[in-house]
Structure formats: C-alpha cells, structure tokens
Symmetry: C2
Subunit: 414 residues, 2 copies
C-alpha cells in the first residue's frame, strides 16, 4: 500500500464516524478555532519558513503576499471555522418522502459524501477553510496543497487534527499530503477506491489537469470568463456603473468580467461613458474595430484570443454586436459558463437572455460580482462550480453532501 492509499483507508474509517457525529462536528470546529488562535505563533513560525524559501526561490511579490499568514489572516481562519460551526447541520435532512401504495415508507435523506479530496495551490488558509466545510458536511478530507506553503499547511493541519481529536472525533478526519511532488497529485487523481470526489482549487492549468486526468469524480471550479451585454435599451449610466464594478472592484477573482458586448445602437452613447469610468482605474481596453471607431485608435485591437481570455487583471475586451442573438451567440461560444449579465430595460430581452444563456449565474441589471456563496446566502463556500453535474455556481455545505434512500417496510416483496 502506498502512503496515499493508507491515508485513503484511514480517511474512509474516519468518515464512517463523522457520518453520524451530529453536534460533535461543531464542537470540533469551535475547538479548531481556539487552537488556531492559541497556536498562532507556531503557525506564523512555520509560515516564516515558507516565506523565506519563497523569497529564495524568487517568487513574485503577489505570490508571497498570498502565502503570508498575518495575525489578521489567522483570526480570519478561526472566525471562518466558528461561522461554519454555527451553520445548520446539513446531514440527515429529509429531502422528500412518501408512503408507496404497498405501504413502504420511502425517504430521501441528505448524507455525507464520504471522503473529499482537495488539490489547491498557494494560499495556506485554504487548508483551514476547506477542512472546516468538509468536517461540518460530515466528510473526511485529504488536502494536497502547493509546495510553496507546505510548512504552513503542515502546521495548520497538525493544529486542526489535534483539536478534532480533543473533541472526540478521529484526527484522520483531516489529513494533509506531505509529498508535494507532481506524483502525489497524479496518484490522488487515481484514488477512486477511497475518494468520493476531488475538488481542484486554483488556476486554470491545475483545474484542466485534474479534469482531464482524474478517475475520481471531479467538481470543476473557478474559471470565470464573464460577460456584460449592454442591450439596445440598456441605461448607459447603469451599464457603465455595473461594468466598472464588475471589472475593477476585484479584478483577480473569477466573478469579475472580462468582456463587454454592446448593441450597435447603444454603442455610440454607452461606450464613451463606459470608457470614462474604466479610465478612473486605467483599465486597458482591447476593442473590436467598431469599438475603436467610436473610442479611438488608442484602443488596442482585440484578437480572437481576447474573447477567450480570463485576464484576471485591469484589462477588458469590448465588442460591438448587431443584436441580442449575436451577443448570446458570442457568450455561448467563448464563455466559461460562470456569470453573465444583460443591462436592459426591455422585458422580453431580459426573458430571452435569462432563459437562453447557459451559465451558472445569469443577471439582469446587476454586477456579476454577486456570484458568491456569502452573497447568495449559503453561509460559506468551497468554490464556484462551472460544471453542470452535481453542483453549479457557489458551492456551500449542501453541495458537499450526497443523499440516499431509506425505505421502511414490514415484509414487502416485489
């Protein structure tokens, strides 16, 4: 048995205890929060090693910042655990139920997934956030983080494991893969005997690699090539306001927009207003020829590649389209299926757009930045699913669970 298979076996065993652990899960989360605060110096010391190694390895300053664990960030992890502890337990919920004509009482109830694998990249706080959600959802978790954060991750996992044990639950409810070589990640994708689901959290490259190679069922998260379409009847000021917010409030996140589509009859009036707002934050615009005809040749000509690109930066592509249908055609072709918005005052166009656009979240007259577990009222989220199987959009506790049928009879045969 490989190290990972052994971890899988231990996780499976722990998951059977967690499945019926009830209120003990919240006690464990409260204990974790306390332990994270109490042992912050130890965690910060481990993190300092990662930071030092990162600097030696010449990591970009933005990556160093994502690695860094400050007091505020450790408090944030602890608070996150407390918030998850306070959420209602999803396990055991009766989703539906009835009595069949033969007297069988049948109920569909929410049960844990079992063992959840998470492969993630640089940010060490994912260790605590993801483990807390999995624990509350009644599943054991095997975490495999990036090598840059290995010392921080080990320290956090150790603190959490001890706290879980102190609350009377198996410490193997939370396990961290210490081998951060590519091999361990590949092996994890083949661990279908032990893992019920694998969730990659990170950049497009990581997600693609997992989707293409995993034998374990995957939930695809995060890639967001999002659009705002300004309809002929759209209010130009509202459009500029929504576009400014959706592009610039946090350009590095998946619910930020990357391309704006403008109806040809709205372009003349709306484009200068949009540009004026974007100029406030020096957003670099890549425009189609018709956009450049209105905004000037200073606009970078957009190429086919631009329509596919998730800039995650202060850059935006703009295209003038002939009709609502053309806008929807563009979205169907280039979108990653995350979030799209139409700005319109036309009832029928709003209806056509919301029913016809096939993305996780479809907006009328609102910023795509709202696509978020917290904003949608899910309490906490493990990521935003861009696939159609199992979960779509922000994934909260319910999306980390499965269901089963329980049937009570008194001797029925078929």
């Amino acid at each position: 048995m490989t190290v990972l298979e052994q971890m899988g076996e231990r996780a499976k065993k722990a998951s059977r205890v967690l499945a019926t652990a009830g209120g003990k899960k919240s006690e464990a989360l409260t204990a974790i929060a306390k332990a994270l605060r109490d042992e912050r110096e130890k965690i910060k010391a481990a993190n300092a090693e990662d930071i030092e190694n990162g600097r030696k390895a010449g990591l970009r300053e933005s990556l160093i910042d994502r690695l860094l664990l400050t007091d505020a960030r450790i408090d944030g992890m602890a608070e996150g655990c407390e918030q998850v502890a306070a959420l209602p337990d999803p396990i055991g919920e009766t989703l539906s139920g009835r009595v069949l004509e033969n007297g069988l009482e049948i109920r569909k109830v929410r049960v844990p997934m079992g063992v959840i694998g998470i492969i993630f990249e640089a940010r060490p706080n994912v260790t605590a956030d993801a483990a807390a959600l999995c624990l509350k959802a009644g599943s054991a978790v095997i975490l495999r983080g990036g090598k840059e954060a290995i010392n921080s991750n080990k320290s956090i996992a150790e603190v959490m494991r001890r706290a879980v044990a102190s609350a009377g639950l198996p410490e193997d409810s939370i396990q961290l893969v210490e081998d951060t070589s590519r091999q361990s990640s590949v092996e994890m994708m083949g661990l279908s005997e032990y893992l019920d689901v694998l969730i990659p959290r990170g950049g497009a490259g990581l997600i693609r690699a997992v989707v293409e190679n995993s034998k374990v069922p995957v939930i695809e998260t995060g890639v967001g090539n999002c659009h705002v379409y300004v309809d002929e009847s759209g209010d130009p000021d509202m459009a500029a306001n929504i576009i400014f917010n959706a592009k610039t409030s946090r350009p590095s996140v998946c619910n930020a927009i990357e391309t704006v589509l403008v109806h040809k009859n709205a372009a003349e009036k709306a484009l200068p207003l949009i540009k004026a707002r974007l100029d406030e934050k020096s957003v670099e615009i890549h425009g189609c020829e018709r956009t450049r005809a209105i905004l000037g040749k200073c606009i970078i000509p957009a190429t086919e590649d631009d329509w596919y690109t998730e800039y995650l930066d202060l850059k935006l592509a703009i295209r003038v389209v002939d009709s609502l249908e053309d806008a929807m055609e563009h979205i169907a072709k280039y979108s990653s299926g995350h979030s799209e918005c139409i700005v319109t005052e036309n009832y029928e166009n709003a209806r056509i757009f919301t029913s016809g656009v096939d993305s996780a979240a479809v907006y009328v007259n609102a910023s795509t930045r709202f696509t978020d577990g917290g904003e949608f009222g899910l309490g906490a989220e493990i990521g935003i699913s861009t696939q159609k199987l199992h979960a779509r959009g922000p994934m909260g506790l319910n999306e980390l669970t499965s269901m089963k049928f329980i049937i009570n009879g008194n001797g029925q045969i078929r």
Copy 2:
C-alpha cells in the same frame, strides 16, 4: 474535425433549441411513439439482420434474446415514449428563490444538462428509452450502442429523428454513433468540449472502462452487489420470504441480492428456512464454515471472492456474523453501494443500520428488488446510480437535468 466532433457540434446546436422547447418535446415524443408503431416492419427487418449476424457469430442464446425486437417489444418502446411524454416537464422548475437584502431577486431554476452521451451494450430498446428521457429532459443525446445491435439501432434512431423533425424540433436532438469500434467509444470519453455528461449502461467491464478513462463527467450506474442481513431479532419467515424474492424473482438485475448475512443467534433457526425456500428454485449456495455447519457439507465453501461477486444468477453467498456491527463492516467492505436490507424487529438496530449503511437504498424488512425508478414513483428511469455525486439510486428525469441561478436586479453593484 472528426465525425464525433461534428456530431458534438450538431448536438450542442440542437440542445440550445431543446432548452426552451417546452411542450414541443412531448409532441415529438408522441410522434416518435406513432412512428415506431407505423414503421415496425422496417425496424423488425433491420433487427432480423442483427439476429442473423449474431447467430453467425455464435452469440449465446440469452444474448440473442436480448437483441430480439418482437412486436411486443416495439409496442413497449412506443408506450415508453408516451409515458415519458405524459410526465411533467422538469425544465424551468423553480427549486428555490428569495429576495436578498439589497433587492436582488435570486432564483435557482432547473435547466437541461445540454448534451448527454450514452454508451450501452446489446439491448436495442435502450436506444428509444434513453433518447425519450433525454429529449423530455431538454437535452440532446448522442447514443453509442453495441455492434451486435447496430442495424436495429440505426433503424430506430432514423425513425425517431424523422419524428422529432416532424414535430418541429431539430433531428440532431437524437444522434447515433454508427462506428461501433472500440475507438469510437474511447473518442466519446474524450469529447468534453461537447458532452456535459456520459452515462454507461451495461456490464461491470464497460462501466469500469468508462469511469477510468472518461474526461467527460460520468454517472456510474448499475453494479449491484446487494445484501440482506438477518438480525438476531429478525422474523425468520419474513427473512426467508424477502431473501427468496430478492434473489430469485429476477436474478439478472442489479437490485437482486448476492449475499445474505445472518446473526449467529438467528442462524440455527433461519438458515434451514432460507435454504428450503431457495431450494424451490435450486439456488446454489456458497456458505461460510458456520453456514455449512448448520446446512451441511453439501453447501459449497464460500471464498473471499464470493463476497465480492455479483452473480446475476441463481447463486447466493451466505455468511454467519457475530453482530450487527460485523454485518455492517462486511457491507462496507464488499458492497457496491446499491441496495441493502436488514430484517429485524429491533427498533434501535433498524436505526443504526439505516443511518450507518452507506448505500443508495437502505431497507428495513423489504426486498431490495424495489430499488427501481418506477417503484419509487419517478415515472421512468435511465439507470441506477451507484456513485455519490449528482445522483444516487434510481435516476429519473430530474437526475438528467442541471440548474442555474437567475438574478434580477435594478443596478446593484457590490
């Protein structure tokens, strides 16, 4: 572009029409039912070719029987389409909805999956049954059947496609892969750009191959290593009756049982009763040593392999266990997670078994043969999922759909 990629592109285009086709889907299904009946002679002629080829190739008689399309089976396919037509349309259902504090109206609505791929084996009626369910669920379907049934499948698909077109929907809503080489099936597993989900229907080998190799999300169906556990307090007559029904009423299906576990204190009384019933149909018993000590050395000694085997035949493994916990341990280790039953009169043991056994359907005092879409009231089923992601247990129309969020605002930004 390969032939399959072209089919994928056409399916995607068709799926966008189907997504908002509403009542036209049922009209198309009614037209299909009529066409299947009207063109039965053509279908039977194509089927006769398959039967002849099958005999030449020396197919087993049981396989020939599965291939055969009689008038009754064609009527069955047509009636199946009419039944699906009569089911309520799952698409557009509001699953939840609320108004957020900022005034955003958010709704979670049921939407089609998009394009569904189905890989299946010998039975040609799957072509009609599966296509009908996918169509009603608003998705285009690409079917890839076995080579033995290719002429029948082509004929059925052609009839269906013409009927769909006559109802004003795209004929590419239903497509059949005509290449039945291994290569086409492998290529289908890589078609993630076009397929939203891939469902294998067939034997354990096919399912394993698809699960291990597909880059498209898979729903695993059908393998059923199911158990009945006779608890210390279980009524021996009820146990014998349930075991007889669950083993012998249709041994070749996935909800039939393969292993019986008996509490040591119930064994002495229950085992002879169980054997007496099984003898009526000459069921071959593979027993553990304690079983053989009670039933006699004529019982075949069970090996480790027996606990893992889905016989799909008039064979049954029997093991005497020391406790409820040991029974649950056995099930956790050997079960395929399909259906399990406890026969008991003890309230607490029923509770422990139903909450602790991690299978799609967990029964108290009833035959596992009830695990079926029709029996559960889903109207029709595409298979029985034994995985935990997306769908578990019998999959009806709802399990063939996805969801999205629609958010209506009036200028909200974050």
